[in-house]
């Protein structure tokens, strides 16, 4: 039965996440935007709380632990599970602050990767730790198949060499999941991910970036110099399966893209909510039944932005719902990410314009949200990469045909 409301059983979770966003994130939002690279110590206590939430329920929490596909759970009928719960939680938390969510201990994208593909032994060994994700290199961004970092087997250890940039929470995390090639001549099939302890002497922090937005979140660059990790640190299968190609590694993204879309939804709604209040103060109320063109231009603009926001939101919930129901959702995940990413940028920048200098100035958070939003149309696959993925699926094309 078609019903696109937030499921009843997740409403407490949404309310709880909203409370965290309101009471914890918002009050320190500007502080850590200004104090880039300073560790938001307020989050430690919160992280423990969220760990507790994750332990105590089967509906995910507010972060990245809930994206594992449970094959044993392919029951009959409609399922609302951890993917939907996680997306809903992330929306609320990012309504509070995207940068702070990205800084949440133990909620990194590396945790998503581990949760999605780790063996039981690896889960045992690395569970409960904070894991960052290191894919991008100076010469390889969207084209992650062309990364140059190598992993060579030497006895019971892999030896990693290369350079990684844009590692979210790289400085603060306990672990870094590093993508590296076992054999560069074998292309994308040889790319594997390795769990590296942050304390590993071969993993050298090079610098922290200064960014347009999400300044609360540290973005690290590393040099890997004869970085030795145990054989068991390889995530997934060590075999180079040319047929399967990149599929295994990329599968993580089917799960994490709806999460980034959810971040975009959250920040867009923050701007819309604030702008609605500001417009009301200025005497502009949105009447949903009166045609947009028969209302003030500001109301019409708001309605157009709110509509795209809602389309993005529903696409995101849809993608998560498909994962909950064990349906392939690569297409929907990329659709959601593409729509949510561009909508968050349009909406947050549009809200700055509608609110004028109040929007542009640092006295309010609107300008910050529009800076934060831009990364959401870039990381975890840019707008253009998402459109490529969507196009290949719709047109039935390979990555060789449609490049």
């Amino acid at each position: 039965m078609i019903d696109l409301e937030i499921p009843k059983k997740f409403r407490p979770l949404v309310a709880q996440a909203n409370q965290v966003a309101t009471e914890v994130f918002r009050p320190i939002s500007r502080k850590y935007d200004l104090a880039e690279h300073e560790y938001p110590k307020e989050l430690d206590m919160l992280a423990s709380l969220i760990d507790g939430m994750n332990e105590g329920s089967d509906i995910g929490g507010a972060g990245a632990t809930g994206v594992r596909r449970d094959e044993s759970d392919k029951g009959e009928g409609n399922r609302n599970g951890s993917n939907l719960a996680t997306v809903l939680g992330v929306i609320e938390l990012c309504w509070g602050d995207v940068g702070l969510l990205l800084s949440m201990p133990r909620q990194g994208l590396g945790n998503s990767a581990i949760a999605s593909v780790a063996t039981e032994e690896q889960l045992e060994r690395y569970g409960g730790k904070w894991a960052a994700m290191a894919i991008t290199e100076p010469e390889a961004g969207s084209d992650s198949a062309s990364i140059r970092t190598t992993a060579e087997l030497d006895g019971d250890e892999y030896v990693l060499n290369g350079e990684k940039i844009y590692v979210t929470s790289g400085e603060r995390a306990d672990l870094v999941v590093v993508w590296a090639s076992l054999d560069r001549s074998q292309g994308r099939a040889a790319i594997k991910s390795f769990i590296v302890e942050r304390s590993n002497p071969g993993l050298k922090l090079d610098r922290l970036e200064h960014k347009l937005g999400i300044r609360a979140s540290d973005t690290a660059a590393f040099i890997l110099e004869d970085c030795r990790v145990p054989k068991e640190a390889l995530l997934g299968s060590p075999d180079i399966d040319v047929k399967q190609g990149f599929g295994g590694a990329m599968q993580t993204f089917d799960n994490t893209r709806p999460l980034v879309a959810a971040m975009a939804i959250g920040v867009a709604r923050a701007s819309l909510d604030e702008t609605r209040l500001r417009l009301a103060e200025a005497g502009i109320e949105i009447d949903y039944t009166r045609p947009a063109l028969a209302q003030p231009a500001a109301a019409a603009r708001f309605l157009a932005m709110e509509s795209d926001y809602e389309a993005a939101r529903l696409l995101t919930l849809h993608a998560a719902w498909m994962a909950d129901n064990s349906r392939p959702n690569s297409l929907q995940a990329s659709m959601a990410k593409a729509k949510a990413g561009r909508t968050a940028v349009d909406v947050t920048l549009g809200c700055v314009e509608l609110c004028g200098s109040v929007g542009y100035g640092e006295s309010e958070l609107l300008e910050k949200w529009s800076r934060d939003a831009k990364i959401l149309d870039i990381f975890e696959g840019t707008q253009q990469i998402q459109l490529l993925i969507v196009a290949r699926q719709l047109l039935g094309k390979s990555s060789a045909e449609l490049r």
């Binding site: 039965m1 078609i2 019903d3 696109l4 409301e5 937030i6 499921p7 009843k8 059983k9 409609n78 609302n80 939907l84 949903y288 039944t289 009166r290 045609p291 947009a292 063109l293 028969a294 309605l303 157009a304 709110e306 509509s307 795209d308 809602e310 389309a311 993005a312 529903l314 696409l315 919930l317 849809h318 719902w321 929907q332 659709m335 593409a338 729509k339 253009q384 998402q386 459109l387 490529l388 969507v390 196009a391 290949r392 719709l394 047109l395 039935g396 094309k397 045909e401 449609l402 490049r403």
Partner: protein, 444 residues
């Protein structure tokens, strides 16, 4: 220039015949006098009024049974879970209508567009599928126990995948039946609803739209004034589906002391006239204007007691209907464009190997899915009795903005081929613009 002179010229124009008009148009006298535009308008009006005709004679609507109170479909209950899957009954109906749209509607679409009419047998087949009775309570011959906006959306989407104009023609009577099923009193229901559940469904139309820029359904120029116990209606309604064939109308008018309200008007009522109003698209729906001049109705013609909330709900439900049609037609664009861009080669390879082409396809897919989900959400809220004005407005906005863009991109992807009538995308370009223009006409 005064109006009398304009009219004089125009009337003479009609009398002279086309040669004289041509001569007049070619001379510079009109430009010298600065009246070319007025004359052209007057000529257009004169020509158009020449086609004005009486509305169809209606059957005798008579209550076959007496109801003690109005029958109503119940609101559905939520399972409390997020779900994008239609229920089994809806899927069956959806499949049936999809088959009909693919096998019957699409092949007939181009001819219906050219003829400005949908073949009656197609409309009869649509009625056999039950499209006109979704909003009729079971007590009056309906088949749906619960409110069925979602079902109506699924059917509208499926039909419009075949053709939007034919969908409008086929779904227009159902809008009237649903309006009366939702808001009619016991007498109105007993009098008007049974034929819509029967074999010979009357042509009927829900007429809200008026011909002017920035039309606002909450500020109608069609007036209903009280005269004793009667209502007297004056005004003009625009883009009414199958106007000339309609036996029954539900007309929106600004009612004395009430605000905008709905009235049930039988086509035989004195003072009604119709004019053809062919438009850019939706041509298969044989759109026309409905002219009301001193149309006198009994007090029992007022629908929903003139409650302003009922009227707003009617506006919102209509928009969900148009968003559904836009979804279906947008999907048709996508489904047509994909094989085309994969097969069409340029510079030695399929044009879909180019990002500029491929990304346009991606965007059609993304925005169509977003529009569909927003439309479903609005409809499912309506079915459960939740507020849905916001969701309906959002679905309309998406249908208006992205529907138009998709129509345009559909033609663009086919290039010159898209511009000619050998391919349906030029029709979809014209039809998709309707989603942002039409008000009323449909009702879910």
């Amino acid at each position: 220039m005064n109006a009398t002179t304009d009219k004089g010229l125009a009337e003479r124009g009609m009398g002279f015949g086309l040669r004289a008009i041509s001569r007049l148009a070619g001379s510079d006298v009109l430009d010298r006098l600065g009246i070319r535009r007025q004359v052209e308008r007057a000529l257009y009006q004169g020509a158009k009024n020449g086609f004005r005709s009486a509305t169809a004679a209606s059957r005798t609507f008579k209550a076959a049974q007496k109801l003690t109170k109005p029958a109503r479909q119940a609101h559905g209950k939520s399972s409390g879970l997020f779900d994008v899957t239609p229920d089994d009954e809806q899927q069956m109906l959806q499949e049936a209508v999809r088959g009909f749209a693919a096998d019957q509607v699409r092949p007939a679409a181009q001819a219906a567009d050219a003829a400005c009419a949908t073949p009656p047998e197609l409309l009869a087949q649509a009625n056999e599928l039950g499209v006109s009775m979704l909003g009729i309570p079971e007590e009056l011959g309906g088949v749906m126990h619960e409110q069925s906006a979602v079902t109506a959306v699924l059917i509208g989407e499926a039909l419009a995948h075949g053709d939007m104009g034919i969908a409008y023609a086929a779904l227009a009577p159902g809008a009237v039946a649903t309006a009366i099923g939702h808001w009619g009193d016991a007498d109105q229901e007993a009098t008007y609803l049974p034929p819509f559940a029967g074999e010979d469904v009357p042509a009927a139309a829900l007429a809200l739209l008026e011909p002017r820029p920035l039309f606002d359904p909450l500020a109608l120029e069609t007036k209903a004034r009280r005269d004793g116990g009667d209502w007297v209606l004056d005004g003009v309604k625009s883009l009414v589906a199958r106007a000339a064939d309609c036996e029954l109308f539900v007309v929106a008018a600004q009612a004395d002391g009430l605000g905008p309200a709905l009235f049930v008007v039988e086509s035989s009522t004195k003072g009604l006239a119709v004019e053809p109003e062919p438009a850019m698209g939706l041509r298969a729906a044989a759109t026309g204007r409905l002219v009301l001049e001193g149309v006198r109705l009994g007090g029992g013609a007022l629908l929903g007691g003139g409650d302003p909330a009922v009227y707003r709900e009617c506006v919102d439900r209509g928009r969900i209907g148009w968003a559904a049609l836009a979804t279906g037609t947008a999907q048709a664009v996508l489904d047509y464009a994909i094989p085309y861009v994969n097969e069409r080669t340029a510079f030695g390879e399929p044009i879909s190997n180019r990002q500029a082409v491929a990304f346009a396809v991606s965007d059609i897919g993304i925005e169509t899915d977003g529009l569909r989900l927003a439309t479903y959400r609005a409809a499912s809220r309506a079915d459960r009795g939740s507020d849905f004005a916001r969701e309906a407005a959002i679905a309309r906005r998406l249908a208006t903005d992205h529907g138009m863009r998709i129509g345009s991109d559909g033609v663009q992807l086919l290039g010159g081929h898209g511009y000619i009538k050998e391919h349906p995308v030029e029709r979809w370009y014209r039809d998709l613009r309707a989603a942002g223009v039409l008000e009323g006409g449909l009702l879910v």
